[in-house]
Symmetry: C2
Subunit: 337 residues, 2 copies
């Protein structure tokens, strides 16, 4: 089954991917470290039973005991944004529910008892939220979630209290970045209770002009309101980006850069992840704006999700050193582009 990022993206000219996640805790178990091992195992079993009854169409759930994965496989999951870093710190008794296409990942016994995540190709907050909500409904049929009439859903971190919902859209903003108005945009957006941050690794800063816009407020709003607030801002940012693109693409230097990036990706024999992300970003701009016809956005999405360090090693079925990764990464890109 094809992975979620191979699906035709909604508004893929700018939207790279959408993520919606709900944090839930179950009344009958203590929160956080206080839950016993047997409680954790029981919780895993309850989630499994509940989800087995769910109809995902052609898609299917897999149930993965985290401690049965190799170190490398775990890091690859993190690299592909399927689990949190917290989830990996203590693998014991933790379960990951992963749909075959990787669009749904449910961490059980993370910081919160349950974290439901749905990923979508492109900008598709509605679609991602609806599926997340559906899973939430199915689970609450058999699980009694901790809920307070004033506060809403109870979570370990107070920043999640209320809806427990975190929604974000990863946007490709090369033009806004080039005309240097991202810092200003960040200020504006934060005044609206949202946040923009550069994506692909918090340590490494912005890679490939990809920026994540996410909600910050989970208290005092309905899930649907949070989603539609975020959606409104995202749409405005996308419109600004489209305008800025129209300007910068009058510039033959920009076109030249885009086309060279394609040539380099198509022929390089070794490439670092940093360089690859930069060229993939240029090529994505070229494809979105119909300057390059040779490659699809789906393929670019696939590459973004395939050229990470651990993911390459898992694919090669062995631990690769930096040089081997650079060779493999270049080969994979050549093969797909």
């Amino acid at each position: 089954m094809e992975k979620w990022y191979r699906q035709p993206p909604h508004q893929g000219d700018i939207g790279i991917s959408t993520r919606v996640r709900l944090a839930r805790n179950v009344k009958q178990f203590p929160f956080k470290e206080k839950i016993s091992s047997s409680g954790q195992i029981q919780l895993n079993q309850m989630v499994k039973s509940a989800l087995k009854r769910m109809d995902l169409g052609h898609n299917k759930f897999g149930f993965i005991e985290l401690q049965e994965l190799s170190e490398l496989e775990r890091i690859a999951l993190l690299e592909q944004n399927l689990v949190s870093r917290t989830f990996l710190t203590k693998p014991e008794n933790r379960m990951l529910v992963l749909s075959e296409d990787h669009s749904v990942s449910i961490m059980v016994n993370e910081e919160d008892h349950i974290r439901i995540q749905v990923l979508r190709s492109g900008m598709d907050l509605e679609g991602a939220y609806q599926l997340c909500n559906k899973i939430d409904d199915i689970l609450s049929e058999t699980l009694d979630f901790a809920f307070d009439d004033t506060l809403g859903y109870l979570t370990v971190s107070p920043t999640n209290l209320g809806t427990g919902l975190r929604a974000s859209v990863l946007l490709h903003l090369p033009a806004l970045e080039r005309i240097q108005i991202i810092p200003q945009l960040m200020k504006t957006v934060s005044r609206m209770g949202l946040v923009i941050r550069g994506s692909y690794g918090e340590e490494t800063g912005v890679i490939g002009s990809a920026y994540q816009i996410a909600n910050q407020v989970t208290l005092g709003l309905s899930e649907q309101m949070e989603i539609s607030n975020l959606q409104n801002i995202v749409r405005q940012v996308m419109e600004s980006e489209r305008g800025a693109r129209a300007d910068i693409l009058n510039n033959i230097e920009v076109i030249d850069e885009i086309c060279r990036s394609y040539g380099i990706l198509k022929y390089a024999r070794m490439i670092t992840s940093k360089e690859a992300y930069a060229h993939l970003s240029n090529v994505r701009l070229g494809v979105s704006e119909r300057i390059l016809e040779e490659v699809s956005l789906e393929t670019l999405n696939q590459l973004l999700n395939s050229v990470g360090e651990a993911t390459l090693s898992v694919r090669a079925n062995q631990h690769l050193n930096a040089r081997e990764r650079d060779l493999d990464r270049a080969r994979l890109i050549r093969d797909l582009i």
Copy 2:
């Protein structure tokens, strides 16, 4: 008719082109500036008559009054090594005889009365010399060349006295350059009465790892001996280059560089001549060593002879500025590669 540089090159893995030139003066006319205008016109006529009887096969001579060309056309001739800089300083009464394929160019009323030049694709000293010699023979049937029994042919510059022959081979030496033994090679070769210098513009230094090996001594040797001396050294340099290539091509970094250069040339939308020559050099190495199959040496030779500033302007039929040339150059390369 295809230009000489589109011919399959002899030993084209390293040999780019071969040039043989003979300087001759005619007894009945004073040398250099002392020849009168009417003398010059008479000389042009005599050369024209002599050559009209020569059979060049499918090739044909054209007879060009230098002063009838535009400034740009003249510089383009220089750029393509068909005339000397000296020849262009005073266009009056100067005639260029140019074969349709540009392999033969004869300057009449240059510093010397007559300079016969033959260009060949690849390393082909014998072929170039034989044709030069044949033209010399034809001309000497009707023209009485200034000749001294002790000194040989008399020329304006003492450095040409004797045979009046200057032969050179343009070699592509990226591997010897990379392992940094060219300076040492220059010393060795100069002790043998030859010279190596970086080619494509004396002002700009070595471009595209192209080096010219030429004879220096014209006195006291026969033409044939000069040619075979040069040929021996050239063969040894070619062997060294082949050995060095075998070494450096074990290096994936070098392969990567070659392939990236191809990708850049294939997709860039604007490119300076300096950058173009550098990438063309990498690609030539790749093609010679069968790393790249996508392009022929003939096409690379054509590009080397087409991407110069004046040549691009003549081709566009207007004076192009730097930016326009960079665009045109990239387009030409994309079209051919």
